[in-house]
Every structure is written in structure tokens, then in C-alpha cells.
Symmetry: none
Subunit: 418 residues, 2 copies
């Protein structure tokens, strides 16, 4: 199946918004054996939308359209679709009920513009949008399927996962596909490729390997294509078992997991609790852990200590340590970790202290210098990192490094113990 | 001047890479009065590239092409350009010298593939690429300019800034564009559209309005097109002044700012400090503030109190308040805000306590129920919110609401005082 994506909206063309929707759709469809051959971004103009639809129809079996479905008058996609499919607009009672229900739960007084969200082209099948007022719309013309969705990412994703992919699976079932993604952390893509070269070289032909790097996190996706799903699954799983013996230290999880989820699950498994003392990461580590449902089972709290007085008063860092070694030092990192572990009474604690930038760097401690400590149940560990990026990157890298550091300490202490 | 962007490479189509180049180019060109009408992403296939070039030539004065210029055999852009412009390839001595120089500085032994980087289509003017081995290439055909660049962002950016934009400025400038973006918070898109309907209706024809919503944050972008930039600027600024009188409460900033940046700037302006006590937001408020460079001028710290014991011990919340009213209550929110304000000795404090979900909701306090308190210099304010979303959204909404709440209290207390 050949697909094209059309994104509608000036905000992408003038660079105010980066088109992350298309990348996400490309990945999802790819996983389901659909090949994207073209992505087109155009503005909310009648002729441009019609031209894009005509061009897509001539090449593709599936055309995914995002954007231009808001209630305001600069959004014209729905009207253009009526023209394209030569039909009128009808009020859909289900959508209307959903719009009213959704807005009243949020105490929004419903107006005419909201009600118009429930007007849909007669020619379409409505796809439920649980997260918003504009429904997805599914059209078929000759041999091409067209689906129009809102451009808001979390609305688009839900409609794709709940409505579009299951429908596509029903229409096309020629080939089986089986995917597994191995999550690695800490090794840059090119080095990882070298480490697994011998393993990669003898992968069977029907298994494709893709590197999906994001900073020091590299996802390795194995996709097997064939007729017999049971066979594909067994073969992929076998290859992953082999890979585990090649890079046992670098793999932290599988598929849609994350460093904080895997680490939190370890804490739950071993019945341990966690507290955090953050300086340069400014709350991001706590935010990552608490993004996971169920984190209250192990996470007790974090003290974000930006000011030195907070390090002293809330974490018990000695003023002498701050004066002698500076806030960004091994000694202070260790005192912070022990301080928060003690104050909050937890089994484990993480601390970070560093120079996120853009200011505050020195020759000895340039921007990106970060000390991270992990207080385990048996001892305290500390490491110096040099990220040398911009502020945003330095904070993200520090956060990932700190969580991975904790993960390794938990594994070390608990697998030695048992 | 009308432009199109063509990006070449499978990695965008399968979602391995998010196309940030186009957004950057869109923004840069827009600032220089060039209007991007279309962005097309295609794979490295001869026919697709030719089709995209033909289509672009029929609409655009300028076609920017990125990607497909690497030394490996899957990159075919240069060969296709030769076919398109009906010319052969020649060795460019300047480029060859640059390639040899660059690789020898990196201690790379030069091979045939590297040398071929210096082969360029006869029909092009070479644009120097200081950061890589593949040069930019400038073509003119009939009335259309075509520029091909590598897809590596920092190579593409340098060529655009040093070579393309100066050349475009020398060619005739037909139209000016002037943009301003007004940032609003707290009013959903449809309600905002109603509030500003009368203002929007009488906007001059040459000013286009776009709504760019992201949850309760709606950006209103005014774009003016015409010949006289001074006039456009004056007209847009006049319309914004009018808009300020229509929705004075809803506007919090302009252009690339954010709620946390604007609020932090207010704290700096009035010389005040901030501390935070977070339960359901789990560190995200602190993370938002500390993402801004210079936040240490006002931000002292945050106590993320997930466990009740942390609320009691670190924030001084009374056990009776927790028992009588529950952790998610006005009373506890107020005690948390006052507790952190006192413990960290700040002028202002925010607190959040709520049910982020997916579990923990009750009939009386369903998932998404959040109490937020702001301790000001004069009094404490508290509000109940009902977000009724998933965990991620509830945390984000709470964070935005808390920061906006603080912003309003700071404005109230400090503009009354002065």
C-alpha cells in the first residue's frame, strides 16, 4: 500500500511549527507495512488543497490529511473536502453530543463555532476523536482512501491508533509484519554500529534493521516481513536474544518503554523508594519519573535546590563544602544525594549539580560540566560529565545520564544481593 | 517572491528524522520577504525528484532542495539535476581543494567517493560549504532559481545564511512581509474567536490572521503583505494595540516568548523571588522556569512532595489538614504554598496538589481535579481546576495554569502597589 501525507496550515510553511506529525505517521504506517512516498505541506488555500488532493489521488492508495479543521474561519479543509468529493455538509448527532459533552465537562459555554465542528461532509465516515471537537473523516474515491484529521498531535495520534490503523488492517492483510525495538543508551550511533556489525551482517534477509537515534538513546528496530507470523516472531526474538549477549550493558529496555519507566519498574520490583536533589536539572528528573503512572509507589519527592541556601538548609550541604569545592563538585553532589536520602527517608537518591549555561562556565568548569551522584543502599557513587551543549541539551543529557546511573546502581546492588 | 522547498531522503518519509530543516528555512525566508507556498518530502528516486522539480518550477520563483548529496550510492540528487538541466558533470578544482583540505585536517584518507564530491553539474554556480564536502549548487532556468544543498542542518544553514540570502537580496524584491504573534492563555480557540470577532472582521485585507492553538495557549499571528514595509509594520502594530484593548486579560506576551519566560521576567523586573511546592505536577513547573537562562536570578527552589510525609516534614503541612480535607484540597494547597514560601524564604510561592491519573480519582474528586495556590506578598489565593484529561495533559495543564495564576497575582500586587 502506497500512501501520501498532506499537512495543511501556514504555521508549518513559515516555520512556526515543526512538522512532527508526518514523522510520527511515517513511522506508524511503516510499522504496518504502508509505504509513504511523499509528504506535502501547503497553506490553507482552496486551490492548493485541491491540487494536492488531485496529485495524491493519482499516485497513492491512501492519503492522510492533517490540519485545517479548527473552528475558526482560517480553517477551510472541511469545505474543500466537500467540494472535492462533491457533497454537502450534514450535522452529525454523535459528534454534536460529543462536542457538547466535552465542552460542558470543561465548563465551556458552547457557541455556534463549536456546534459547527459537528457538521461533516456527507460523503465521509466519521472517526471518533476522543481528545477534541473535530472528528476524523474517512472518504473513499475510486481506489483511494482519504482520511482527514486535526493537526493537534495528541488528537491525530489517537485517531490514527484507534480508528485508522485497525481499519487498514482489515482492508489489507497480504503480508505479516512483526516488529520489536531494542532500546539502548549511552553509545553513539556510529560506535553502536561497529559493536553490533558482526551480528547485523548475518541477520536473515527477511529481517530489516533500522537505527533510530535520539542523542545517546539509540533504538534498534527489527522488522520481519513474511507470511507466517509465528515464524517471524520466533526468528526476531531469537535475534534479540543473540543481540543481548553482544551488548548486554547497553540495552535498557524494549519497544515503547523509557529510561525512567524501566528504572521505576526496577524500584517497584525490589520494593525500594527514591528521592532526588536537583540543581542544574531543575526538576526535570522528578518530572520524568512522575510522568509515569504509578510512580507514587516508589517516588517520594525531590528537592530542587537552585540557591545555595536551599542546598544548605533543605539538603544539609555544609557551607564549607560549597565554599571550598564550589557548588559544581563531587563533594557537593555527594552531600546533596545523602542529604535528600536522609531528609526524605528513601532507599535510593540521585543528585545533580552542574552548569547548564549559557552563562556561568569557567576554564576549569565549562558550560556542560555536571556532577551526578547516586546514593545507593550500600554506598554513594559520583561521576563527572562534560556535555558541552546548549542549555536545553545539557539539562536533557544530565537527566538521562542521572536516571541511567541510578538504574545501573539498582541493578548492581540488587543482583549482587540476591 | 514565491518559493517551494523539496527535501529528498527516505529518513523523513519513514519517520526516522523529523524535518526541522524546512521549518528553519521557512522562518528565514519569510523574514526576507519570501513566501513559502509548499514543502515536499520525497525519497531518493529519479522520477520522483524530476516530478517534484517540474511541479515546483511551474509555481515558484525559487526552489530550495535539501538532501541526497552524500557520497554513498543511494544519494542521486546531483545526477538527477544534471538530467533536469540537461548538462554534464565537471570537476570543480576549488571544491576538490576544499574536500582534500577538510578531510586531511580530520586525518581521513581521501578515496574516490570523496573526490566525486567535487564533481558538479556544468549548469550550476557553486556555493561554498565550509562545514562539509558537498557544495551548494545554484541554477537558473527560465524565471526560476533552483538551489540544491546538503540535508545536514549545520551545513544547510551556513550555505543559506552566507550564500543564498545575500544573493536573493540582490535580486529584486517585489513584496514585503511583516509578522507579529500575540500570545494568549486561558481562553479556548473558539471562545477567543468569538471575543475578537468584531476586531477580526474589520482587519484590513492585506493583514491575514492565523490561530495557532496549543491547549489553552492560542497564538494569534498577524501577517501583512504589501510593498511598503514601514506602512505594514505601522498597520500591524496599530491592530495589535486595538486587540490589546479587546482582550487585555488574555494576552500574556508576544512572538517567541512563553508563560514561564514572561512570568520570570516580571519577577526579575520587580526584584522578587520564587519557590514552588509541587505534588501532581511532579517537578514540571520548576523544570519550565529553569529552562529559561537566567532563572537563578529569581528561582530559589522547589519541593516536589509526592508522599504525604514530605508534605508534612518538608513543607510543614499539618497532618490534621491532610486527614480532614485530603491531600487534594484547598487547605493543603494553601499550607503547601505558605510552607515552601516560609522554608525557602521567597516573596512568592506556587503550590499544586491534584489527581493526575489514570488512577486515584473518586466521584467527588475525579481524575484531573487540581488545587493550585499562589502565596503572594499580601495574601494567599487558591483555585480548583478540573482538567479531565489523561495524565500527561493534566500535568501540562496544571503547570500552565499555575504559572499563569502566579503571573496574574504578581501583576495585581505590583501594579496596585506602584
Amino acid at each position: 500500500m502506497i500512501a501520501e501525507i498532506i499537512t495543511i496550515g501556514d504555521e508549518i510553511l513559515i516555520g512556526q511549527v515543526v512538522d512532527t506529525n508526518s514523522a510520527w505517521l511515517g513511522e506508524q504506517l511503516n510499522l504496518h507495512g504502508v509505504e509513504i512516498v511523499k509528504i506535502t505541506s501547503i497553506s490553507d488555500k482552496h486551490k492548493q488543497i485541491i491540487d494536492a488532493l488531485l496529485s495524491a489521488e493519482s499516485h497513492a492508495d491512501l492519503v492522510l490529511i492533517t490540519g485545517g479543521l479548527g473552528p475558526t474561519k482560517d480553517d477551510i479543509t472541511k469545505k474543500v473536502l466537500c467540494d472535492y468529493f462533491e457533497c454537502g455538509m450534514v450535522m452529525n448527532e454523535d459528534v454534536l453530543r460529543h462536542v457538547i459533552d466535552m465542552l460542558s465537562r470543561r465548563n465551556v459555554v458552547i457557541n455556534e463555532l463549536n456546534k459547527e465542528q459537528a457538521l461533516v461532509p456527507e460523503a465521509c465516515t466519521v472517526l471518533h476523536n476522543p481528545n477534541g471537537t473535530a472528528p476524523g473523516m474517512w472518504f473513499e474515491k475510486n481506489d483511494t482512501i482519504f482520511v482527514s484529521m486535526p493537526g493537534v498531535p495528541f488528537e491525530m495520534k489517537e485517531i490514527t491508533l484507534n480508528e485508522i490503523l485497525p481499519r487498514l488492517q482489515q482492508t489489507e492483510r497480504t503480508k505479516s509484519i512483526y516488529h520489536q525495538t531494542v532500546l539502548t543508551y549511552g553509545v553513539p550511533e556510529s560506535m553502536l554500529a561497529e559493536k553490533i556489525e558482526a551480528w547485523e551482517k548475518i541477520l536473515p534477509d527477511f529481517i530489516k534493521l533500522a537505527y533510530l537515534p535520539n542523542q545517546l538513546m539509540v533504538r534498534l528496530r527489527l522488522s520481519a516481513y513474511g507470511d507466517d507470523e509465528t515464524f517471524l516472531k520466533a526468528e526476531v526474538d531469537k535475534q534479540i536474544e543473540k543481540l543481548k549477549t553482544v551488548i548486554p550493558e547497553d540495552i535498557f529496555g524494549f519497544n515503547g518503554s523509557s529510561l525512567s519507566k524501566v528504572t521505576g519498574d526496577l524500584l517497584i520490583k525490589y520494593g525500594k523508594t527514591l528521592s532526588i536533589a536537583e540543581s542544574c536539572t531543575g526538576g526535570k528528573i522528578a518530572h520524568f519519573f512522575t510522568s509515569n503512572a504509578g510512580s507514587s509507589a516508589y517516588f517520594r519527592g525531590s528537592i530542587v535546590a537552585y540557591a545555595n541556601e536551599v542546598k544548605e538548609n533543605q539538603l544539609g550541604v555544609e557551607p564549607e563544602a560549597l565554599e571550598k569545592h564550589g557548588a559544581v563538585s563531587k563533594e557537593v553532589a555527594i552531600e546533596m544525594a545523602l542529604g535528600v536520602k536522609n531528609a526524605l527517608g528513601t532507599d535510593y537518591a540521585i543528585s545533580t549539580t552542574g552548569i547548564a549555561g549559557p552563562d556561568g562556565g569557567t576554564d576549569e568548569k565549562p558550560v556542560g560540566t555536571v556532577w551526578i551522584a547516586v546514593a545507593g543502599q550500600q554506598k554513594v557513587y559520583a561521576k563527572r560529565y562534560n556535555f558541552a551543549h546548549n542549555r536545553e541539551r545539557n539539562i536533557l543529557r544530565s537527566t538521562q545520564a542521572a536516571i541511567n546511573f541510578l538504574r545501573k546502581v539498582i541493578l548492581k546492588e540488587n543482583t549482587h544481593e540476591n
